[in-house]
């Protein structure tokens, strides 16, 4: 057999990234900063990092699959990217024990980013750790001269960490808690819909019309998608599905489209950011 030479040489590889800082934000949340100049330069808001936790499939690893974390921030000048995560199960507990100087095995940046509409006011709607991508997106929006509004929801005040980061990145932040311990008492969807309706009733936003970007629990996003459809507001959502590979080879992460299973798309490649109209919310 004589075969033609390969057309393109492989160019990607998992990266060995040093932990630059690791902060406990309270409420079970952590802020992890990695030294990663190339990622910081290339990354777009909405993309994610796929982190090998506990050694992965390697010689001493029990955890097989990586864990996905949205890029919560990227600083090309310092050459760092940051993740905002909740200490939860096996992967994130392992991650929470990593100390500055340790090296992590990371695939990044992965996935399709948010598409920032330059002609509309960005409105971010975040539930729980869903705030993560909007810190990065707020920074990018400000760089493009936009003035983002961010609506952040959590069960309780203690879990609201991330708001300061959003504000520092240049977003105007309003919060909602289910138990009313901070901000609006109720869901973040109620809050944002009410706010946008009031603004509309008052003759429109003081500026261009809104474009919504959401990340959070499925139920929150389904409710928001319904409201946006009713009001005609454009909505992009960042979805979370189990991701065995993160690079498009396993088909574990597919998202059904609105017209049935024939429209499955991979959350890790075609997503995690989708137009809300292209998702079957049921």
């Amino acid at each position: 057999m004589s075969l033609p030479p390969p057309a393109a040489r492989p160019r990607r590889a998992p990266l060995a990234l040093r932990v630059a800082a690791h902060e406990d934000l309270g409420g079970g949340l952590r802020w992890l900063t990695l030294a990663a100049p190339d990622v910081a330069a290339a990354a777009e808001p909405g993309q994610f990092a796929h982190v090998r936790c506990g050694g992965g499939l390697g010689p001493d690893g029990a955890l097989g699959t990586r864990r996905a974390y949205s890029l919560a921030d990227a600083d090309p000048d310092r050459g760092t990217v940051s993740l905002l995560y909740r200490v939860w199960g096996r992967g994130s507990v392992w991650l929470s024990q990593r100390r500055p100087g340790e090296v992590l095995d990371v695939l990044a940046p992965l996935g399709t980013p948010f598409r920032l509409d330059p002609h509309r006011t960005p409105v971010f709607v975040a539930g729980g750790t869903g705030v993560a991508p909007f810190i990065f997106l707020a920074r990018r929006a400000r760089q493009k001269g936009l003035r983002p509004l961010a609506f952040v929801g959590a069960r309780t005040a203690a879990e609201l960490a991330g708001g300061e980061f959003l504000a520092a990145a240049g977003a105007e932040v309003a919060v909602a808690t289910d138990d009313g311990t901070a901000g609006f008492a109720g869901t973040v969807v109620d809050l944002v819909v009410r706010a946008l309706e009031e603004t509309a009733a008052a003759g429109g936003l003081a500026g261009p019309s809104p474009a919504l970007y959401a990340c959070g629990p499925h139920a929150m996003m389904a409710a928001l998608a319904a409201a946006c459809a009713a009001h005609g507001w454009p909505l992009q959502v960042s979805l979370e599905t189990p991701m065995a590979c993160g690079i498009g080879i396993c088909l574990s992460c597919t998202v059904p489209g609105p017209r049935g299973p024939g429209f499955y798309r991979r959350c890790c490649v075609e997503g995690p950011v989708f137009d809300a109209r292209e998702v079957a919310w049921e």
Binding site: M1, P10, A13, L57, T241
Partner: protein, 316 residues
């Protein structure tokens, strides 16, 4: 320097390391991480006559050293493969093995027929063993007579080297092996995933909507090795071994047990370069141990116990 070429009956591969079906798509994504031409080849995702859409999610769940999947053989169909994927794979210099699926003998034969005329298909892997398709595959893999029938039909439709991939969930695996070999299979692919269950203790229900899925990964390596050992002892046919390979030494175990080639599956999910690392590791091992060819180590562990009782406890 050892020669990594390996022969599986009518099929010769430039080295013994393949990408396993369903864990490498059609090669495009992994080509960003490794050189497909540097591997023995790629076994592409199970391909059906027309597109299949697969199962609702969640489709995977992690278990200790393992992964349960219930993808449901989602694939874009034969035509897409022939028009989009195969030509691209050829530009990469990849050796291509096509994993064939269907719901009926006719569907299997249709895929085989479609591949008969295509340039650049090195071999077929007949998947009669996917546990995630209800109407089709599984019965073929469990019933020696049906397995033989579909093997014959596929071989008749496409003369290329044919490997039949067996299910460890079949009641009588050796009987299925024997039937498909008699029906014209050139070799066996061992092994597909084990029927498995995970329960979500928080939600008090199975994690997967399909209830069961197939277990892959390092957890099943000792089970897969057992099947390779038994098949080699009994049939001395070409074998593609797989199940839980993540290091060169895992691959070496399969070769020593009697496989002429191996496939890397789940491990690519965590480390996309695994297959390339396994090639390098095998090369180094063969060199260091002074083996001139891959063939010298195939089944070597059997010879080590010759005189001792060879297959004392095998099933059936």
């Amino acid at each position: 320097m050892s020669d990594l070429t390996t022969r599986l009956g009518p099929l010769t591969l430039r080295n013994p390391v393949l990408l396993a079906s369903g864990t490498a798509g059609f090669g495009r994504e992994l080509a960003e991480y490794l050189d497909l031409a540097g591997l023995g080849g790629i076994i592409v995702k199970g391909t059906s006559p027309s597109p299949w859409y697969g199962n609702p999610g969640p489709r995977t769940v992690e278990t200790p050293s393992g992964l349960i999947n219930s993808i449901g053989l989602e694939n874009p169909g034969l035509r897409h493969f022939l028009e989009e994927d195969l030509p691209w794979l050829r530009t990469q210099g990849a050796t291509v093995i096509v994993n064939v699926v269907g719901r009926t003998v006719e569907e299997y034969a249709a895929v085989a027929e479609g591949l008969a005329g295509a340039d650049g298909v090195a071999a077929l892997e007949l998947n009669i063993s996917c546990p995630n398709v209800k109407a089709g595959g599984i019965q073929f893999g469990h019933d020696p007579r049906l397995a033989a029938e579909v093997t014959r039909a596929v071989k008749a439709a496409c003369g290329r080297p044919l490997f039949v991939k067996l299910s460890p969930n079949a009641p009588d695996v050796p009987a299925v092996a024997e039937a498909v070999l008699e029906a014209g299979a050139d070799g066996l692919s061992l092994i597909n995933t084990y029927l498995a269950l995970a329960i979500d203790v928080a939600r008090l229900r199975p994690v997967l909507p399909s209830v069961f899925g197939g277990l892959s990964g390092p957890a099943i390596k000792p089970l897969a090795l057992r099947w390779v050992w038994e098949a080699h002892a009994r049939f001395r046919v070409p074998i593609i071994g797989m199940g839980g390979i993540r290091e060169w030494s895992d691959a070496a175990e399969f070769l020593l047990a009697g496989a002429q080639a191996v496939a890397v599956g789940t491990a690519s999910f965590t480390e996309p370069r695994t297959a390339a690392f396994v090639v390098e590791g095998l090369r180094k091992w063969l060199d260091e141990r002074g083996f001139a060819t891959v063939g010298e180590v195939v089944g070597l562990a059997h010879r080590a116990i010759d005189g001792e009782e060879a297959v004392p406890l095998g099933q059936s």
